[in-house]
């Protein structure tokens, strides 16, 4: 099987920049989503995930940069094969679920009514109800049903599990994985890192409007390690380790120091051992660790860390 990085980019985002007045929403955002893969876009609130999606789909005009779908700029007719589930429901409150399905049936040539009915059953959705009478989670479910019912070649999902219960969240992830195995390219955002870790092959992490990390999840996991050391003294001197380019971040919690290493882990470990800590060990990073070290101080502090450099 071809590694995702070697596959041609179904979506190529190059130096995308968007400003709202003096506020930079996204700044020189670039990444590539290989065809048939699931790509996770992670970031703290306001990092620019939704703006990236809007610029990708022509819903907002970027100030700079370009977006290519299979090598071509977006044209309206391409939406025959692109589905988008926005973060907040954009469905029509006065229309019923059935009317929305009919709306899609008349719009998309690839609409699959059997699949739509099956998905409605899966999500226990009463399609006779008006959207305005549905809960937030049910509205999300309807948006997901509509998106999957057209067998899109590209799926863009902004927080697709928002408001759903854990059972339905899992079903959405399963749907995404199933759709991807059929060749659909999927890009999605989620605050639930566990979901991204489960579904995504590649990720990009947005922080302060910029992409601070991008790559294959497995690759990132194998590259990125945590060196955890306990010293006899409070705040031991680290002698320049803070500015070492191999080190992504350092967190201190009294005598405990955690160093998030992005490469050359063994070398950093050896350098650290010279400082004679009481105990020293190397840990694998999960995606949450990678995310927290990538977004730096604020997020790590929220997660209970202190003094992250």
């Amino acid at each position: 099987m071809m590694a995702s990085a070697e596959r041609p980019g179904a979506i190529e985002i190059r130096s995308l920049t968007k400003r709202y007045g003096s506020v930079i929403a996204i700044d020189e955002v670039s990444f590539s989503v290989p065809e048939g893969t699931i790509f996770g876009l992670l970031g703290t609130n306001g990092a620019g995930k939704t703006t990236t999606f809007k610029c990708m789909l022509g819903l907002a005009r970027p100030d700079a940069g370009s977006v290519l779908f299979n090598g071509a700029a977006l044209r309206p007719e391409m939406f025959q094969h692109i589905a988008y589930v926005p973060e907040r429901s954009a469905l029509y409150c006065w229309m019923t679920g059935t009317q929305h399905l009919e709306f899609y049936r008349r719009t998309y040539t690839s609409y699959d009514s059997a699949r739509a009915a099956k998905l409605a059953e899966l999500f226990h959705l009463d399609l006779r109800k008006r959207v305005g009478a549905l809960s937030k989670g049910q509205q999300t479910a309807l948006a997901v049903i509509l998106a999957f019912s057209i067998h899109p070649k590209t799926l863009v999902l902004d927080e697709p599990t928002s408001g759903l219960d854990p059972v339905h969240q899992r079903q959405v992830l399963d749907l995404m994985i199933g759709e991807s195995s059929n060749g659909t390219t999927i890009i999605f955002s989620s605050h639930q890192i566990g979901q991204v870790e489960r579904a995504a092959e590649r990720i990009a992490i947005l922080h302060d409007s910029k992409v601070v990390l991008e790559g294959e999840v497995e690759q990132l996991r194998s590259n990125e390690k945590i060196i955890e050391a306990v010293f006899d003294t409070e705040r031991p001197a680290l002698n320049g380790l803070e500015s070492d380019p191999r080190v992504r971040a350092i967190s201190r919690n009294g005598r405990l120091i955690r160093v998030f290493v992005r490469r050359d882990t063994e070398l950093v470990m050896r350098a650290f051992a010279e400082k004679q800590p009481r105990s020293l060990r190397m840990l694998d990073q999960n995606l949450e660790d990678i995310f927290l070290s990538a977004v730096g101080g604020d997020a790590a502090k929220e997660a209970g860390e202190r003094d992250v450099l």
Partner: protein
Amino acid sequence: MYYKEALRVGRALFYYAIIVGALTLIGALVHGGQIFVDTSSGSHNDAAKLAHVQLPFSILFVVPSIAAAIFGSIAGISLSTENDGHLEVAWTRPASRVRYALAIFGTDIVAIVAAFALGFAGCWIATAAHGGLRYLVVDPDTGGELARYVLYPMAWFGLCEALTASVRSRGGAFAGFAWPIAFVLLMLDQLPLQPVWHAFFRFINYANPLRYASMTIGASASTDLVNIALPVALTGLSAIAIIGIVLALLQWRRLEA
């Protein structure tokens, strides 16, 4: 592409038809001898005079036109309604923004004509119920007046679209306030103001649909505030409708979700 729009205007027309139906029923049932001619209570002389009364047939267009104009004002916030949280659905259809907007406009225009027709049917029935149809005569201007009174709600539609296309959540308020503002502007045009102000309000009122809504009956009676010749009215109303729609389209193309 038209399915959702057909549903939308279908709902609006349904409620509109209920209101028109109720008003027609009231108009037909209320003892309305006074509306046109009450031969039962008047003197013999009055009845004889009324037998020669002739009213232009186009008088039946006035109320339907005003009602359709109100309908058109409400329909005129259709782009604003899309802009109020639905652009992610509207703009991810396999159609250009302009084509999508034109589908909306086309459906709205058909609905406005239907609203006018419903109102006209209501007026016809109410008038017939009181035996008033025999006093109506079709004159050479009837066709032109029909065009004027159909264009009148279109002008309101175009104006409201232009005013609200880039308004996100208060399109209804904008369209609602457009009516009293239009009345005030027309009144200001009639006041003996300094020439510069008079010229200013005259200019503004070229874009005021009310300016072109006039009906002259006989020598003295008139429903108009400003006497405007029919060709001028047709041109003015058409221009407001078309320019309004073009301005709305330009805004729609530049919008961002």
